[in-house]
């Protein structure tokens, strides 16, 4: 039994534990132990820097073998999955779970759903042929549906909408699998990889459409992104954090395996769209850029913190796809690194927001404010998170985004670069709204007695903040993982060092950048604390304005219609076209259902039977 067997076994055992002991007091520690054990087993597989390791058990059904194998890409995604699972469970144990159970929900079901998600992801990223990929994919879809729907009510409706999208995507993948089987005679990766060069462009376009749609639906690429925000936002706390970290990235995993690993970016460039100057790669890149722009500005307009962050999750996925599609060492390194960086960022942000929800009972941005006075550590987490999300130094997000920008510029893709920058602008604006509306400004009367988040929540949040900072300061280790993944996928490998990368245009060194930044802060701190006079801490309202003293009952600081000017400009652009498209498709299905139902309402349908007979007679002769 090798390390991969152990990993799968432990994953299944964790699921079983969650099923059996989820309702007991020992659920959370047991599950944390389980995830930690899986993590250790993952490390033991040594798949990242060593040789790929195969599962020693394979299944053969109907003459089709199903194997599982962990290589560098699998290791990378499994790491993020297990880390997210561990941190989410840790976050959701203790106080949060007691509150959740008091609201009438079942802890065991939540734990089981989360463990099922982790298990199916561990299976999915190890797939070595399309059958096991599809098995993992469907298990993941259903585990996700389960975790989304278990709260009931609006979450169940969002989950049903997700199911409609996800199952259609799954069927598209199944159709593509059938076509690949007919073409290559087998569903394993190696025969398919060998038969792909012989396929015509037309066949590859069909595969691109089917598999691109299938994987893109899971990823939330335009135009399949509408389900993601409500579904992820309405899931209970730990589940939401877990989803945003890694669930959507499974679509990216599959795209990496197929489009980068098997088809190859060179082939995508060869597939030209007639009558345009675009090719397959350009099409995907522009979809990625629009995925960055539109959801980010939708996030800007959200009034609920969870929805805001969920829409950002959709948008950031576009950076990953964009980076990978550029294809150079830097670009793909940026895209792959962003998967990790965004995962830790998004989890930290969502944990902070759910901590605010736990303490104040709301995430409505128009009903919060000034919480920095009461929840400073949560504020710190959110601050680190939004700096990273916006892609500013010294946090981790800056590194991956800088890599993508550099790649876009140096490869001569200025329009895509402009699109990415527009997205970043939107991100910076909307995350400021997030932190301002929650933590800055005037503290409300009803939140006067709010306490800092409990320890069970603080520990994951602060450790993630530290990780975000360290990953930004010393991107070397994470870049080494990315380099191993690049090598395994056949992409050019980035030349990294502890502080950053070297490239033909000089590269960058985060250690210098961050140190200079910190030195600047240090000088500022010196000036402020050292050379300034003695300062006294006063209450926010111990002040006067316009000759009057301030009273807590009055609102002196409003945050309605944030970015009203910007909204006036871009608001008219948001005409709900994608929702219209979704509703139109639903109406078509409804119409077809009416039409077919009409047949079953006819009083004398024997005419149709006769028509069928006559049709056959005509066809025969």
């Amino acid at each position: 039994m090798n390390a991969l067997d152990l990993l799968f076994l432990l994953s299944g055992a964790t699921l079983l534990c969650a099923l059996l002991f989820g309702r007991t007091r020992w659920a959370a520690p047991l599950l944390l132990l389980g995830y930690a054990a899986q993590f250790v087993a993952l490390l033991q597989t040594n798949a990242l820097f060593g040789e790929p390791i195969s599962l020693s058990w394979s299944l053969v059904v109907l003459d089709q073998p199903m194997h599982w194998r962990y290589d560098a890409l699998s290791w990378f995604f499994a790491l993020i999955t297990l880390g997210a699972g561990f941190l989410s469970t840790g976050y959701g144990s203790g106080v949060w779970m007691r509150d959740y159970e008091r609201a009438g929900h079942s802890a065991g079901v939540l734990h089981t759903a989360l463990a099922a998600n982790v298990f199916s992801m561990v299976l999915l990223v190890g797939a070595e042929d399309f059958l096991s990929l599809f098995l993992g994919w469907e298990l993941l879809n259903w585990a996700t549906f389960f975790l989304m729907a278990l709260r009931g009510g609006i979450a169940a409706r969002a989950a049903l909408r997700y199911l409609g999208y996800a199952f259609t995507g799954g069927m598209a993948i199944l159709g593509a699998m059938a076509l690949l089987y007919a073409q290559a005679g087998s569903l394993e990766f190696q025969p398919i990889r060998e038969s792909l060069p012989q396929m015509s462009d037309g066949q590859l376009w069909v595969l691109l459409a089917l598999l691109g749609s299938g994987f893109g639906i899971k990823m939330g690429l335009l135009p399949f992104h509408l389900w993601q925000a409500p579904a992820y936002a309405e899931t209970p706390g730990p589940g939401s954090a877990f989803f945003s970290a890694v669930s959507a990235r499974m679509g990216l995993y599959a795209m990496l395996v197929f489009f980068v690993g098997m088809v190859g970016l060179a082939r995508l460039v060869q597939m030209e769209i007639p009558y345009t100057f675009l090719n397959g790669r350009d099409l995907l890149a522009w979809i990625a850029v629009f995925t960055i722009i539109f959801p980010t500005y939708t996030a800007l307009q959200q009034q609920d913190a969870r929805y805001l962050l969920a829409w950002h999750g959709i948008g950031q996925g576009g950076y990953m796809v964009l980076g990978v599609l550029v294809g150079t060492a830097e670009g793909s390194a940026g895209g792959l690194l962003h998967i990790f960086n965004h995962a830790i960022t998004q989890v930290a942000l969502l944990m902070a927001v759910f901590a605010v929800l736990y303490r104040t009972g709301t995430t409505d941005l128009n009903r919060l404010g000034g919480l920095v006075a009461r929840m400073p550590l949560t504020f710190l987490t959110l601050l680190f998170g939004i700096i990273s999300l916006a892609g500013l130094p010294p946090m981790a997000g800056f590194v991956s985004k800088l890599l993508v920008y550099r790649a876009l510029l140096f490869e001569g893709m200025p329009l895509l670069f402009v699109g990415a920058i527009i997205g970043t602008l939107g991100t910076i604006l909307s995350v400021y709204k997030l932190i301002h509306n929650i933590f800055l400004g005037q503290l409300r009367l009803e939140h006067e007695s709010v306490q800092e988040a409990p320890l069970s929540m603080l520990i994951p949040m602060l450790s993630l903040s530290l990780l975000i900072f360290l990953a930004g300061y010393f991107p070397g280790p994470t870049l080494s993982w990315v380099a191993a993944v690049q090598a395994q996928l056949g992409l050019p490998v980035v030349n990294y060092h502890l502080g950053g990368v070297y490239d033909a245009h000089g590269g960058f060194n985060m250690i210098w950048i961050v140190s200079v930044l910190l030195a600047g802060f240090g000088i500022g701190a010196l000036v402020f604390f050292g050379l300034g006079g003695p300062s006294k801490r006063v209450h926010q309202l111990d002040n006067y304005a316009g000759g009057h003293f301030l009273y807590a009952e009055n609102r002196y600081q409003y945050s309605d219609h944030f970015y009203a000017g910007l909204m006036h400009l871009i608001g008219p652009w948001y005409r709900g076209s994608f929702q219209w498209l979704e509703r139109a498709l639903g109406s078509i299905v409804d119409f077809l259902a009416h039409f077919t139902n009409g047949f079953y309402g006819i009083a004398q349908p024997l005419l149709w039977s006769l028509a069928a007979v006559l049709g056959i007679a005509v066809w025969v002769f």
Partner: protein, 152 residues
Amino acid sequence: MALDFVSILYIGALGLLLLGTFGLVTTTHLFRLILALALAEAGVNLLLILSGYRGGAQPPILGFGPQDMPMVDPIPQALVLTAIVIGVGVQALAVAAAVRIYRRYGTLDLVALKAHLEGDLARKQGIAPPKSAEKPAGERPLSPVPPRPQEP
């Protein structure tokens, strides 16, 4: 085209079948449907018997005529006997059902009966009868005025 006896019978059989089919397909009165069914079945049975006809042959009874004379194929006759019996049984069942339906609903019109069927089922299951909508379904697809930024 020389119309001999067998061809006329074939035309007759097909005609019966077509008549019966036409009746089945167009009528909405239950009893007429049963009658049309009887016609169609008669036509098909005749068709089946005719498929066993051999020109100038004698009935398939041993000892009827000379031994070396060809006989009409007896198998279709056996098949048709079975088919006639089946047909009669089904028609009898249909008539019995029609009688009970008439007693229950007072009509033999298929359209009305279908409506009764759907209505009774819906009532039994507690489904409300379909009603016209008060306003168009769904939401207005595109607002005529660009939307204002959301109110808090």
